[in-house]
Symmetry: C2
Subunit: 341 residues, 2 copies
DNA sequence: CTGAAAGCGCTTACAG
DNA sequence: CTGAAAGCGCTTACAG
C-alpha cells in the first residue's frame, strides 16, 4: 500500500542509491536530479522505513532516557525537554524506567538499551561507578543529569549549595529549629540528590552555629504523601520545628497541608521552603529553590547530540543555575521561639 | 563488539533460523536444542537487533502516542500508563506532540507515524472526521482517548455528565451564580472535551431553572496561569459568581490563588470545584471530579495490543468512570447571596 | 524438529 | 554525478 524507495526510483528514473542520496540531502546529486526525485517522492507520499534505514545505516537514530519513573513532575518535564530537541534532529526517544518491574537490578543485568539506542540520557540513576562503567562498556554515548562525575558528560545543579541557600534563608529569618524532609532512610538505591541536599542543610546549620538534631530530619520519599507523613511525624516531636526545608515542592505541599490541618498557620507558625519550583508552587505561594527542568532536558539532549555528531563538546560537567524564590510560606518564627539569645 | 544471531548459531551448532525460533519461544524446537541455544545466547550476552527484527518481521513493534503536548500532568500520566503496559509486551512507545512545531497541520500533512508504528493511541486530537479517516487510511490500528466516536475503538469519560455532577453539587449547596472556567474562546483546534464540559454545565443550570449568563463562562486554557486569569476576569463582574466550576484542577488551583489574593475565603466566600483529581488536589483540599488517568492509559494500551494481536475486542467505545470527590473548597454560598427565593 | 535461502527496505563503498 | 551490488541482522515460508 505504501511506496518504497524502489517505487520512487522507478518514477524518477534513477537508481535507489540516487534516491537515497537525494532525499537525505547528501552532496553529489545534480540539482535537476534531486528535484525530480523530490517530486516523485512527494507524488508517492514516500517516507523511508526507519527500521530499514537504521539497519543499513548502523545507527538506531534513537536516544534512550533512563529515569526512575515516568509520570512524576520532574521527570516528565525532563522528558519533554529532551524529546523536543532530539525530535527536531530526527531522533526518537525511548524511555527506560528504573523503578519499574525488576527495578535497577534487572536494568543493570540486561542493559536493555543495547542495540536500541545511539545514546543515553541517564537521570538520577542510583548506580555506583562500577555499574556505570558496565553501562558505558556497551559503547553508547552517555550524558548524565543529576549524577556526580562518572566519566561521562553531565549536568548537575549544586544541590548542597542550593540547600544551604534555602536553609540560610530560614536562618536569616530567625529560625533555629529547622527540619528537613528528604529522601528515604537507608535508601537502598543510593540516589545522590537527597544526600547532597541533606549535606547542604547540615552545613548551613553548622555554619550558623546551630545544633543538628537528627530527629528533625524526616524521610519524605519525594512524594506528596511522603511529605505529609514526614510532617505528621515532625509535629509529634516534643519541640517541633518552626521551619522545614523540604527537598522537593511536592513534599513541601504535602507537609503544608498537614500543618494547616493541624491548625498551624503558614508562615506565621511554621515556615516551609521547597525545592524545584513545580508548576503549582507559584499558585500555592510556596517559597522554593527554582531550577529550570525543561531547560536541563534540552541542554542534556544538545550535549548528547553534539557527542553523537562527533563533537567533543561537553566532556565535563555543567552546573545548572538554581535560585531562591521567596513567596509566602516563609517568614519569621513565632514570637518567643526564635531569637532567644 | 556485540554478538549477532550468527555468533549464537555457531556456538550452539545450529542454524540461525533455529536460534530465531528458540529464542522467541516458537514451537517446533526440541527442548534440548532450545536449552543449548539459550545457553549460547546467555554466554554471549546476545540481544536481537530490533531494527533487523522489525524489518524482517514487517512490524515496527512500536506504538505511537499522539498527544497535544508532553509535560502536562494529564498527558504525562497517560504516557506513564501506556508505557507500562506496552513495554511489558515488548513494544516501544513513541510520542507525537500535536502542539509542537508545525502543530496539528503538519502532523496531518506528513502523517509522521507512517512506517514507524503498528498502532496509535490518539488522545484529545482536534481533528475532524475526514482528517481522522485520512489517519486511519495509513493502515495502523488506532485507539482513541477522549474522542467521540470516529470509527476507531476508544475510551472516553462522560464529560457532560461529570460536569453536571460537579455543577449539581454546587447547586445543591445553594449556589445560583456559578461560573465556568473552560478552554479557550473560539478554539481553533476544536478540542471536544471543553465543549462537552461546558454543555454539562449549561444543562445542570438549565435543569435547576437557573439562567445562563454568558459572562460567567471564562476561558482558562487548561493551565494554571489561564485559570488565574479567568478568575481575575470573573472578579471584575458587577455581580461576581459565588462558585466556579473549573474544567481542570490546574485551572481550579490557579483560580483559587487569585481568589484568595483578592481577599476571598474559599469556600466561605467562593466555592471552587475542579476536574481530574490531580496529584496535588488532595493536598490543597480541592473538591473535584476524579478520573483515573493512569488507568485510562493502561486500558487504551490493552485495547490496542488486543487489536494488534488479532483480537476483535474493543471495537466500540468504553466509558470510563468518574466521580465527585468533595473536599474543602466547596460549601454554601455566603449568607444573603444564595437562597434568595 | 531443523536448515538453506530468500527477502525485508534501506545505505554505502566501489566503479565509472 | 550516477548505478550495480553487497550488506545490515534478522524472520519466514519452504523442504526435508
Amino acid at each position: 500500500v505504501t511506496a518504497s524507495i524502489e517505487d520512487v526510483a522507478r518514477r524518477a528514473a534513477v537508481s535507489v542509491a540516487t534516491v537515497s542520496r537525494a532525499l537525505r540531502g547528501l552532496p553529489n546529486v545534480a540539482p535537476s536530479t534531486r528535484a525530480r526525485v523530490l517530486g516523485a517522492a512527494t507524488d508517492l507520499h514516500y517516507v523511508a522505513d526507519p527500521s530499514a534505514s537504521r539497519l543499513a545505516g548502523g545507527r538506531s537514530l534513537t536516544i534512550g532516557l533512563v529515569v526512575p519513573v515516568l509520570g512524576q513532575w520532574y521527570y516528565s518535564q525532563l522528558f519533554s525537554g529532551v524529546e523536543a530537541v532530539v525530535a527536531a534532529a530526527g531522533y526518537d526517544v525511548l524511555p527506560f524506567t528504573l523503578m519499574g518491574p525488576g527495578g535497577t537490578g534487572r536494568f543493570l543485568d540486561t542493559l536493555p538499551f543495547r542495540k536500541r539506542v545511539d545514546g543515553l540520557v541517564v537521570v538520577d540513576a542510583p548506580v555506583d561507578h562500577e555499574q556505570f562503567a558496565r553501562m558505558m562498556d556497551v559503547g553508547v554515548t552517555i550524558v548524565t543529569i543529576g549524577l556526580s562525575d562518572r566519566g561521562a558528560a553531565g549536568l548537575v545543579v549544586d544541590n548542597a549549595a542550593a540547600a544551604r541557600l534555602a536553609v540560610g534563608h530560614l536562618i536569616g529569618l530567625g529560625h533555629q529549629r529547622i527540619a528537613l524532609i528528604g529522601g528515604v532512610d537507608d535508601d537502598p538505591f543510593g540516589f545522590s540528590t537527597p544526600v547532597d541536599r541533606l549535606r547542604g542543610y547540615q552545613e548551613a546549620l553548622r555554619t550558623a552555629g546551630l545544633s543538628l538534631d537528627p530527629r528533625l530530619a524526616a524521610p519524605g520519599n519525594f512524594s506528596l504523601a511522603g511529605g505529609a507523613e514526614a510532617m505528621n511525624r515532625l509535629l509529634t516531636l516534643d519541640e517541633p520545628p518552626t521551619a522545614v526545608f523540604a527537598c522537593s515542592d511536592e513534599m513541601a505541599i504535602g507537609a503544608m497541608q498537614v500543618a494547616r490541618d493541624a491548625g498551624l498557620r503558614v508562615p506565621e507558625d511554621l515556615s516551609i521552603v521547597g525545592f524545584d519550583d513545580h508548576d503549582v508552587s507559584e499558585y500555592v505561594g510556596l517559597t522554593t529553590i527554582r531550577q529550570d527542568v525543561v531547560q536541563q532536558g534540552e541542554r542534556a539532549a544538545e550535549l548528547l547530540l553534539g557527542c553523537l555528531s562527533g563533537g567533543t563538546e561537553g566532556l565535563g560537567h555543567e552546573i545548572h543555575p538554581t535560585r531562591l524564590i521567596v513567596r509566602h510560606t516563609s517568614g519569621p518564627p513565632p514570637p518567643g521561639v526564635g531569637f532567644r539569645w
